[in-house]
Symmetry: C2
Subunit: 357 residues, 2 copies
């Protein structure tokens, strides 16, 4: 059965990337080896690694004043790594716009005077706070650029203004829309949504922020250690980085982030327009703050929601159940979700509505 | 060209494991999805994850008094995680038998009164110290079971006697020989040698050691957090765990660790016998402490060593260069290296000797 996978992550990878990885899986380009079993110090892997780093820099237009790191442990590990590396004055301000933002803020409290400067918890995280005031003399402001569970995102309108570097968790939107990296001190992202299989985390950090890690910071969590070694301090997740590299090449071939952003806005527009014109489906996010990656929606009862999830799955629209904190459904429509997948979802939504009105 | 890959890690995977992963790469068992893109909360992945955990317990005969964790970051991250989780009295003793053992000891100093109780540095790590005395009132003794670079291993003869749990880095020998897990408080291992592609770390920890992590221990490095969540606290490296699961099934089919140990001893025996009967090749490790996974050897000059590495590579015997700390050659002959690979190496060694004597 043709399946469209609406999982919030790990999530769909481009067809051509999967095909190429499958073709080369046992014998990578005549090397006689699989990328899964190559020495990370071999010339074969070195090319894969360095090309992936270079292509990510190209895609995001990252200057030489930033270090790009391939690390492990997911965004959750960065919740500790960020304060462990960046707290010098010992103070940071967090904006809590969802579940993971809250976890990041909670972890940071272990390492210094870290506070929640603003939150959208009052309206169950259905908007992004504007015009937030931050403390003076802080090391950084932390935001979560796109909130996977609640379906909100930062835009230019809500971008925080502070006298400190902005640190952003871009896990669920990296490479989906154009971002001016120069506006950030540090960007991190789990790769398992828009980039690669799970097991790789991207960190993009301004070099002048490096070298201030706490004395009890684990060596593997030190950005400087990883930057100095081009993320080859120890064995990296080679195959996952190889897959990321294939995705980077695929995006460059499509025309880069600018072009994929147009497609993403088109896909999200189709779905939001359909929901907004329906009285059967609802999305409660402030329209100006809506994510173009994660679209939560509900029917008018828990029974209908459960029926929707079940029947959608039977029709090849899988992993569309909403997170338990929100309920209902969530369509995660990352870069690799084709327009046809969104159209198939809308067709199913129409049919389900007519059968259950 | 048929290639035998003697890399110290990442290293060879069994042919049948690679073939199966390739076959199912784009469409896993009719799910319409690749394992690289499945939600880690899906029923498909849940089965993969739980089966892999159960089969590792079966292979190593691990009792319910131990937690088995699938984490990230490699053994190098465990160098910090072990003291962060296990130091309660604040003291631990390390035996330094090589490069990684030294790194583990160095990292631990950040977290408490951790000392080197013994080392084999005096003879460039060519043996394992015997009858080591450890301090009283320590939290654990740390050893490195197999020393990848120097080609030594612990055996029953050198197993440390202490009034404290034994913590062992088994990265380069896990599942290669029978081990009584009950003799250890904690075992950890990077998976990229005997188990899976890089990006997965195995931790086996006695449950009564859990729950004592320092207050500044990153949540992701807390063994208790991972144990309580069956290693699904956040997104695990799903595809790498899937590959590990295929390797576990492959080993069970072969007859388990007992059977693969016989093959490993046979392979290592062939190579050591050949070297010991030669005046052209030398291995300087104390015979009783020789690793059956990593076999370092040298010719009589640096020029010959370089020529050997080059010509071996041209003949499909790749990644056989020794680590820079030792020089010469190193044949890593992990579980997945076939007997034919070792025989092909010995044939090449004979030919090279006759041409260069």
């Amino acid at each position: 059965m043709k399946v469209y996978n609406f999982s919030a992550g790990p999530s769909m990878l481009p067809e051509e990337v999967k095909s190429e990885a499958q073709k080369d899986f046992v014998d990578y380009k005549g090397s006689g080896m699989s990328v899964t079993e190559m020495s990370h110090r071999s010339k074969w892997y070195d090319e894969i690694h360095m090309e992936a780093l270079a292509n990510l820099k190209k895609l995001m237009n990252i200057g030489d004043d930033y270090a790009v790191l391939f690390v492990q442990g997911g965004a959750s590990q960065q919740f500790a790594a960020v304060p462990l590396n960046l707290l010098v004055k010992g103070r940071a301000d967090y904006v809590v716009t969802g579940n993971f933002a809250g976890k990041a803020a909670k972890e940071a409290v272990k390492y210094g005077d870290c506070i929640v400067a603003a939150t959208s918890k009052d309206k169950n995280f259905t908007y992004i706070p504007e015009n937030v005031s931050f403390r003076d003399d802080i090391d950084y402001v932390h935001i979560t650029q796109n909130n996977t569970i609640f379906g909100t995102r930062y835009t230019d309108r809500t971008y925080p203004v502070a006298n400190a570097p902005i640190v952003s968790d871009m896990s669920s939107m990296i490479l989906s829309e154009e971002i001016d990296v120069n506006k950030y001190g540090l960007i991190y992202a789990g790769a398992q949504k828009n980039i690669a299989p799970a097991g790789l985390t991207i960190v993009i950090v301004k070099k002048d922020l490096l070298g201030h890690e706490k004395d009890y910071c684990p060596t593997m969590l030190s950005y400087k250690t990883q930057a100095d070694a081009d993320s080859l301090y120890n064995t990296p997740p080679c195959f996952t980085i190889y897959m990321a590299g294939l995705v980077f090449k695929h995006l460059l071939k499509l025309g880069g982030v600018k072009e994929i952003q147009k497609i993403n806005e088109y896909k999200a527009g189709l779905l939001y327009d359909f929901i907004d014109n329906s009285s059967f489906y609802h999305n409660y996010v402030n329209p100006a703050d809506r994510s173009i990656m994660n679209v939560p929606f509900v029917c008018n009862s828990d029974e209908l929601n459960a029926k929707f999830v079940k029947e959608a799955g039977e029709n090849g629209l899988v992993s569309i159940k909403g997170h338990k904190l929100v309920g209902g459904m969530r369509a995660s429509i990352y870069n690799a979700m084709p327009v046809d997948g969104v159209k198939a979802l809308i067709e199913f939504m129409k049919k389900f509505e007519s059968e259950n009105k």
